[in-house]
Symmetry: C2
Subunit: 337 residues, 2 copies
DNA sequence: TTTGATTGCACAATCGTTTTTATATATAAT
DNA sequence: ATTATATATAAAAACGATTGTGCAATCAAA
């Protein structure tokens, strides 16, 4: 017994088109105040709500954004999502969220789904899948913006944080504390973020005239276990590093565990720093020195840019590089001895 | 230049209806294999994808579920969401997620939105809003299932965990360790979970012949700051409790901070236990003794029930009460002295 | 009183599907 | 050869909105 615009029209004794114009406040509609009231009353009386599907079909616009993220349980993303949602909501858009679990296949499937569902634009926060997604979207000319990553050729729109700058900051902080033997547990080096942090690490060493020692550089991954394993190797080196810069906080946590297993105190015996400032970073013992990235802002800006594009508004900046911030806590200290 | 079913039909030299039937594998369609192939070829050639909106309009079904949650940054929810998404995906449904930030107004707005978007059913994981949501949904006869809560009158479908049992378990665990002065930082008492945990707490005391002391019972909330404030009051009591049962892990974290500020060691000076076993619980120092609830399962079951209802399948159990599990870590210890 | 403009609303086409009903051809049965 | 039955496809009517255009009625100006 769904009530349609026709029912309203009938009961109000007008034509459906008139009801539609009243609802949408068509500026070029001239209508008697009395009729308008009558229509509004009937709408309330019947508790009429327009059918968004029919509306979308006619308007060729769903006022919906599709957002693709790798893993909703990674504490990095919820804040980003909130930001995107906030920006979307401000312009009357809603968000449909797709979790790929880092599986390329799922990503592809979701992409198809979103296309079928006719979302007006895409927010892409996954980085793993060899740019197939980006390729697909540009090819079809669907509006999209990349979140926390760029495309391989750096075309298109994106909102990222300046990872080389962040890495540089935290590593220079270590140098200032007197460290010279600073190791780096790199993330995946085919991910842009991994590469950039490595670059920032090398830049910092270079800036401060500290020699780069390949033995102190180890490729890991972005998970806790990756940090644990890599730290084990590092800590068993004959000339042990006095500080470790981990690719992210999770990796730093793994390193913390490895250090604890060897009876090393942090930061007295060794400093360990992370990246991202996920909520857990300040909870752990010792609280992690890390780099805070503006997660909410990143999501918000991406959402803002995308909705503006869709609405045909001017977008002055569609390639945004956000500045990270150094957060000094307890896990970084003077060089021992 | 979107390609429609009409374009395909034209190019294949058939009627759109035939194309439609081929796509949907209409069983009562008899078609020459040759024609069918021709159509399929054209579909591939034009890279035709059906318009889901038009399809939904016609079919009166969007194959979409709306899920309302209070706070996506609360680590409790992502896992639940994943479960729901998994169940939905298995039956070809997708999920649109709505974050209310615990604001009743936002919840109402999202509800309207989801109705306009014609989702086929609702997953409701918010508890705060005086049942207006549930009322609305039942009144309009929209299919829905409650997640981690029940309606006031316990009608309708739901998937919850046995919170009184969980609370009982963890409190009895404390009693077994010798504690008698066990405080409880309750959650919001107009939320069912808050109420139930309080009930479990009292049941445990009662079972073990420990007197209930109103001074040890304090209403807080579900956030970390609530736990911090409540713990401050509790710890400044003349006869300090030897153990605190917090409404959830976040609250326990706040309590941990308050204890640390007073120089109290956990668990040597005071035991603190949480609820939910969110990922951070095992990372914090000391790792929290807590109650593990099957988050993924909760979401999955809710999603399964809802989609089955929608598809008209039999649902043997639409009121599920899941069993929690005690996880003993380091934050609970022998009573001091 | 006629003309012209403006107001107030209705008509009908359209969006891209699905689905019921109808029609035309081929095959089989009589 | 004729009728009955299957087979293969087409035509047309929804689904529930929006919107350009058109037609009266009202009002102002001449």
């Amino acid at each position: 017994m769904k009530v349609t615009i026709k029912d309203v029209a009938e009961k109000a004794g007008v034509n459906p088109s008139t009801v539609s114009r009243v609802i949408n406040e068509d500026p070029k509609l001239s209508i008697r105040e009395e009729t308008r009231q009558r229509i509004m009353d009937v709408i309330r009386e019947l508790d009429y709500r327009p059918n968004g599907i029919a509306r979308s079909l006619r308007l060729k616009s769903t006022r919906t954004l599709g957002m693709i993220i790798p893993d909703i349980t990674n504490p990095f993303f919820p804040e980003v999502i909130k930001g995107a949602e906030g920006a979307a909501a401000e312009r009357g858009f809603s968000l449909i969220l797709c979790n790929t679990d880092e599986e390329e296949e799922k990503e592809k499937a979701y992409l198809e789904l979103l296309v079928e569902k006719k979302v007006d634009g895409f927010l892409v926060a996954t980085a793993s899948s060899y740019d197939r997604t980006v390729e697909f979207l540009s090819e079809k000319d669907y509006p999209f913006v990349l979140v926390n990553r760029r495309s391989r050729d750096a075309t298109g729109r994106y909102v990222v944080v300046d990872d080389v700058e962040g890495a540089r900051m935290v590593v220079e902080h270590l140098v200032e504390l007197g460290h010279r033997r600073i190791a780096h547990i790199a993330g995946l080096l085919f991910a842009e973020t991994g590469l950039n942090r490595l670059e920032g690490y090398r830049a910092a060493l270079n800036n401060r005239q500290v020699d780069f020692d390949p033995a102190y550089m180890t490729e890991g991954g972005f998970r806790e276990i990756d940090g644990y394993r890599a730290a084990q190797r590092l800590l068993d080196l004959p000339r042990r590093p006095t500080a470790i810069f981990a690719a992210n906080d999770l990796v730093a946590l793994g390193a913390l565990t490895a250090a604890a297993e060897r009876g090393l105190r942090v930061p007295e015996d060794i400093s360990i720093v992370g990246y991202n400032d996920i909520p857990i970073a300040e909870k752990v013992t010792p609280p992690l020195t890390t780099i805070r990235v503006p997660l909410y802002d990143m999501g918000y800006l991406a959402g803002e840019i995308l909705t503006k594009i869709i609405l045909g508004e001017e977008v002055p900046e569609d390639r945004v590089i956000l500045k990270p911030e150094l957060v000094v806590r307890w896990s970084s200290g003077q060089v021992p001895g």
